[in-house]
Subunit: 339 residues, 2 copies
Amino acid sequence: MKQKSITIYDIAREANVSSATVSRVIAGNYPVSEKTKKKVFDLIEKYDYQPNAVARSLTKKESKMIGVILPDITNPFFAQVFIEAEKYALTKGYTLILCNSMNSSELESKHLRVLSERQVEGIIFMGGRINKTHPKVSEINELKYVIEKIPVILVNGRMETLECPSISTNEAKGIELIIDHLVKQGHTMIGLIGGMTGITTTDIKVEAFRQNLEKHQLAAVDSWQIYSGYDVKRGKEAMEEMLKINKHNLPTAIIGINDLVVIGALKLCHQKKMNNFSFVGFDDSELTQNSIPEITSVSHPYKELGEKTVDMLIKSKTTDMKAENLFIDPHLVIRESTI
Amino acid sequence: MKQKSITIYDIAREANVSSATVSRVIAGNYPVSEKTKKKVFDLIEKYDYQPNAVARSLTKKESKMIGVILPDITNPFFAQVFIEAEKYALTKGYTLILCNSMNSSELESKHLRVLSERQVEGIIFMGGRINKTHPKVSEINELKYVIEKIPVILVNGRMETLECPSISTNEAKGIELIIDHLVKQGHTMIGLIGGMTGITTTDIKVEAFRQNLEKHQLAAVDSWQIYSGYDVKRGKEAMEEMLKINKHNLPTAIIGINDLVVIGALKLCHQKKMNNFSFVGFDDSELTQNSIPEITSVSHPYKELGEKTVDMLIKSKTTDMKAENLFIDPHLVIRESTI
DNA sequence: TCATGTGATGTAACCGGTTTCTATACAATG
DNA sequence: CATTGTATAGAAACCGGTTACATCACATGA
């Protein structure tokens, strides 16, 4: 329904040169006389000629596209990494294709397939549910199969069952920052709520939690660590349980596995009119600044995560990618909830 | 660095047929003998042959890609529409390319160009800063130029300077729902904060605000309507001003131009220990459920916005698109902040 | 029996670029 | 002057599909 666009041949014809010459003028990687160059550039401008990226992809066998598969772009963590990756990719001539898997392995597979058919040069895989307790082996196989053909990088996710390069926030370091801060504030009784055992990122945090309590010679009270999940509702539930089972022996500071959990806990405390806890979240999402009180939280190295991932993918075109696991340190943003 | 994939010719050779036949088997739009079909399908399965979408795009002159340009995927409104659009597009064989413009017209132009070169079949343009007070005419021209070549649809944005089809939430209706609800709750003194005059979506809401007050024969007190902006900070500022200039004549219910503004206003009221206002937001973002109190808000017809937009774009391939402006009614989600 | 229609398949052109190979003109070198 | 090198440019193949057109075998109907 729209007019057909002009091609390299149209330019060539009007300039009385061959398409090869026009191609060379554009690429600028081959000697072309100044006169011809000018003639071609003038025509390109005159018609606002835009090279057809699809045709170029086909001949050059490089699509200049990178796929991004994540559970849900609504999650501020994924959104932030994506934005940084996109910004960076653009400067490198790459385009990102975002795929929301909505935590469905079926969708994940479908997206994997589409991306592969579209000849993406690499796939960024975030927060997939692949971990040692993952129920569906089929999915891992699917991914494994793709990895053999397309470079895949995991962001903040590890796969015990599969060799795959990854880039992650050093979450253990994040927990260390939190506990150091809380101790400096005078806290000696610290709890941890949310998350699920078996999920890599939770396991790492819990492990770091215990180690750092020990480092400061603080008691690791078992009932002060409550698994529940990752959303606001779970946070509320966890806090409810915390209050119930520790009625007479409560921690003074509580770390949430992520910001949402803290929001939930805060809500419960507000309802119960208990405003005597310090809270720390994880992810430093916008929520932390919009809640009352504003929440101290660990901020991921978003920019590095995004850029390094894209870089590794681009590099993997020429260098064989080692299945290395890169960790980047986060930092702590201190707000009202811990002062 | 990865192995080359197999092509339709590989399949054809091993099946002792021509590539045309394989193509026909896959397309299934042409009679092929059962025997040949089976032979080909078996080989496709054996090698897990995946057609090269780039090559297909080139010959068929249809990329099956749609571009999406929006200011910032972090904004829950855009994210939600995107998710719905993507979900739907996938079922139709289309892939979306998300572009964050970060409110920079430079980036907008760059993305427009990239998308055009990639031969996208259409562009979904959300929340662009194009309106009657828009300072940069160059940008409009850029967009205008693209529109001549690629179908563009605006989502929740209108352009006075440019004929372009659009799909929008009926925001006036949203305001009507709010005011009807507040009146039913007994409110007779209603304020409106946030937004900016000159921005289409604000103008529409303000206009509807006044009309609906009139409908209920309520006073439209000038100082109860305060422009400020769109984020939490602006909301706080607006509320501060509201309290200052209306010290002895305050509204009892306050409508925010969006949810963020309400969050800001709530924060201020919390600081000032003034918990006697009813608040209503707009967008029904997750924030509304996570704040204290939970906020009554107008929910956009996300699913319809996403699906209808994709549908229109697909249809525009065969039918010439009228520059029509479609409106879809939102609904009101009632929460603690107005009871 | 011959003309015609139909099903199944192959051939080759095409999509819009890039790139290898080749050719030409001209300058520099011996 | 013959030889070699270099700058410039074209011809043609190629990327991996799709499809218009051609072909052929066989069935049908006059």
